[in-house]
Amino acid sequence: MEVISLKDVTQRYKKVNILENVNLSIDQGDMVGVIGQSGSGKTTLLNLITGFIQPTNGEVIYYSKIHHEERSLTKNLNKIKKHMGFTPQHNSFYPKLTVMENLLHFGRLYDLDKNTLKDNIKNLLEFTQLSHHKTKLAEHLSGGMQKRLDISCSLVHKPKILVLDEPTADLDPILQKEILHLLQEVNDQGITVVFASHHLESIEKICNKVVIINDGRVHSCGSLDDVRAPFLKDHFRIKLPKGANKEHIIERLRGLPIKNIIQDRNGLIITPNHMEQTMTQLMEIIKDEGLQLNDLHFKKASLNEVFEKIVGGEE
């Protein structure tokens, strides 16, 4: 079920498109990783989702679960804010307040009743392992704890969507893992999590959906497999001998569960639906037709590789 979607959204500044024609949908319970180079438009995308900026063109739509209707984010911003949590790149709490005071302050501003807020904070403190530090001034917490507090502040009102802008930036690898683990746990509680990060390996591990932004455009959006699909190396390259009946061979191959057959100068590139399942049948045809297997790729491209290829202009 969709929670947020962006329809033909363009964000322009001084005649330059920061984001162009973005179409994107996020489902409830999704764990979405937004990746892209610095200045590619990741933060702009997140800010459009949170309503901090309004699109030049297009519309950001929020789906109301209660009313079962689409609502424009811009027009219903104050109502939607109650269901959304945002954690900016840099810590966003009051350093001179204690952990508890920060949570209470932000919680009360979301108009929660006392008991609910108390329960929320108690659970949050346990969940983020800040219970023992609740009386400490925020500025006295370590970097990792500060980030956890920051996320807690965004979760104190139990939002349906949590948006984070590079939550692992400036953190050491251990803290990065810790935070990503925390986000996964948040997501496990049914909260939709959208975050931008350069930590691609982690995104690959924890996200079910990835949005790749390149040069102001959403290059890819979807599940990891969908994003990786154009860059899959699980294909065969078969060399056709001179005088071979190409059409006959292609006809036979089409009988197999394959996605795509591409002809090139030296032969055919075959991309099966499922490598392991198709392998035996394909080998039989190669043997029957006296063909030569030139190249066989099993390896799935990593998100990092996919990203590098996209940024490098290769597809």
């Binding site: 500044y13 001084k14 702009t44 104050n78 109502k79 900016p88 810590n91 350093p95 040069d215 102001g216």
Partner: protein, 561 residues
């Protein structure tokens, strides 16, 4: 040394490149000096508004009023009483009230009194008002003094001329007197020359008188004895009597003739004397005539002198004090006598409120703006109004604490504050609101806390310098003075002064109160607008950064290509 210069150079660069600080540090003092320079570079008189009351507005009173008007003072006249004028002083509409006598002309040895009413709470202005008005007043007094002196001199000149005339008469009298004296001397000489000695040539004549007298006595005795004798015969008595008579005749015989001759000589002498006396008498008659003329002349001199005395008596102003200072001034203070603290208290109170509110407003906004939590606030379902109201409320609470402390301390010195406390508190709350909103506005405009605070201080200083606390507002050019009436500090100070010093009820200061309340509302709306701008500014900055990143990327791509 080189390091020192390098660091200094770096500091200057950083200062100038931070637009806000450059603006505030360099341009704010320049702007302040420029504004104050423009404000006070006037050679005109203090633009004072004076109220004048006199029992009758005679010509010389009107001429005094004109004298003041010619010097650029605005004059309002109060014919019935001075009280309405005093009320206007309390309201700050009039700077000084003057009670003039019906006439400024001095007619006796009593000085004319002119009474000034001034507002002692306007400490810096009261002396300026006194000085300015008194200089005009002294000018008038000098004018009258000159007129009195001229009158005296005219009288003296006239007396001098009269005395000169009388001097001629006196000389004439003197001459006549001399004539009388010389005539008298002649008479004296004549009289002295008279021979008043009896001509005693015969020695017998010298004794005859004695002898005759003795004989006559004895004859007398004999007649007495005869006449008294009882025994003597009357015939005998007669005979004896005849005998005695014969004796007496004998006595009168020769001697007597000699005596007569001598008497003749004496008679002749007396005849000469009589002639001399007659001559002298004639001369004395002439002298008498001269003396009578002299008396007549003296009468004229007397009349002349009487005239002079009358003229001198006509000069009624003879007291040197009155001549030198015919008009005296007394200065009355409007409102009850109080200490300087009373008079300064409203200004001090508003000053503290102004700077505290400005700085608190700025600091709170800056703290919030520069707080890491600032961005999060945009994602809270809270309206802008709530944030503005919260900052305002915080300022108000802090200011209230300050005011409570100040008032509590002041109670030790100023007991009377208790009665006016509610009204003063209301005015202070509205004043604090105005300056808090202004401070918040400054906070929204500037980027760094330091420049914001400097901006607030500069703004406060500008209000202070143009408030009349340090320099009288009346010294400003008219257009600026009129504009400055809308200075919130001026309005607030005036309100507190009227309520605190003159116990003016709130109803009477409602127009000023409405103005300052209007400011508060307008500024709230302005802050609302600025808060919106801040969001837009943040978005703009965010987009600008992205724009820069894009351009850098484009540039890099071109270079790569």
């Amino acid at each position: 040394m080189q390091s020192l210069l390098l660091i200094t150079k770096k500091n200057v660069k950083l200062l100038l490149r931070a637009k806000g600080s450059a603006l505030v540090i360099i341009f704010a003092p320049l702007l302040l000096i420029l504004l104050l320079g423009l404000a006070y570079s006037t050679g005109t008189q203090l633009g004072l508004h004076l109220g004048i009351h006199a029992p009758t507005f005679s010509d010389d009173v009107n001429s005094f009023i004109k004298l003041l008007e010619d010097d650029g003072y605005t004059i309002s006249t109060f014919e019935t009483s001075i009280d309405p004028c005093i009320e206007e002083i309390k309201q700050g509409k009039i700077h000084s009230c003057i009670i003039l006598p019906a006439s400024l002309q001095v007619e006796g040895n009593t000085q004319k009194e002119v009474k000034f009413y001034v507002d002692p709470s306007r400490v810096n202005l009261v002396w300026a008002v006194q000085q300015a008005v008194e200089s005009k007043f002294n000018f008038k007094s000098q004018e009258i003094s000159e007129s009195l002196t001229n009158n005296i001199f005219a009288t003296l000149t006239s007396a001098k001329s009269g005395i000169a005339t009388q001097k001629t008469s006196i000389l004439d009298i003197k001459e006549k007197g001399n004539g009388v004296a010389s005539s008298n001397e002649e008479v004296q000489k004549t009289l002295k020359s008279l021979d008043l000695e009896a001509p005693v040539t015969n020695p017998k004549t010298a004794n005859i008188t004695g002898d005759v007298a003795n004989i006559k006595d004895k004859i007398g005795d004999a007649r007495g004895a005869i006449s008294s004798s009882p025994t003597m015969d009357p015939i005998e008595k007669e005979e004896i009597g005849d005998l005695l008579s014969n004796a007496e005749s004998e006595l009168n015989g020769a001697g007597i003739k000699e005596l007569q001759a001598e008497l003749q000589a004496t008679k002749e002498k007396f005849s000469l004397i009589a002639s001399a006396v007659r001559t002298s008498s004639t001369k004395l008659d002439k002298s008498t005539e001269r003396i009578q003329n002299t008396i007549k002349a003296l009468d004229e001199v007397e009349i002349g002198l009487t005239n002079i005395i009358e003229k001198l008596d006509a000069q009624k102003v003879t007291d040197s004090d009155v001549i030198s200072a015919p008009l005296v001034s007394t200065i009355e203070q409007v409102g009850a006598q109080a200490s300087f603290l009373n008079y300064l208290f409203p200004a001090i109170l508003v000053l503290v409120i102004m700077f505290s509110s400005l700085l608190l407003g700025t600091t709170l906004v800056m703290m919030e703006k520069n707080s890491p939590a600032f961005l999060r606030n945009f994602f809270l379902p809270i309206s802008k109004g709530t944030f503005i109201a919260a900052t305002y409320l915080t300022t108000l609470i802090m200011i209230s604490i300050e005011v409570i402390i100040i008032l509590a301390i002041s109670l030790f010195f100023l007991d009377e504050i208790l009665t006016t406390l509610p009204s003063v508190a209301l005015v202070l709350v509205i004043t604090a609101s105005v300056f808090a909103f202004l401070g918040m506005g400054v906070g929204y405009i500037f980027i760094s806390e330091e420049t914001g605070v400097l901006g607030s201080i500069s703004l406060g200083s500008l209000f202070l310098f143009l408030s009349g606390i340090l320099l009288p507002l009346e010294g400003l050019p008219l257009w600026l003075r009129e504009m400055n009436q809308f200075n919130p500090f001026v309005i607030a100070e005036k309100l507190v002064r009227e309520i605190f010093i003159f116990s003016t009820p709130l109803v009477d200061v409602l127009p000023e109160l409405s103005v300052i309340l209007g400011y508060a509302i307008l500024l709230f709306l302005l802050i609302w607008f600025l808060e919106t701008l801040v969001h837009k500014h943040l978005v703009h900055r965010f987009m600008k950064n992205h724009h820069r990143a894009h351009r850098q990327k484009d540039k890099q791509n071109k270079n790569d290509a």
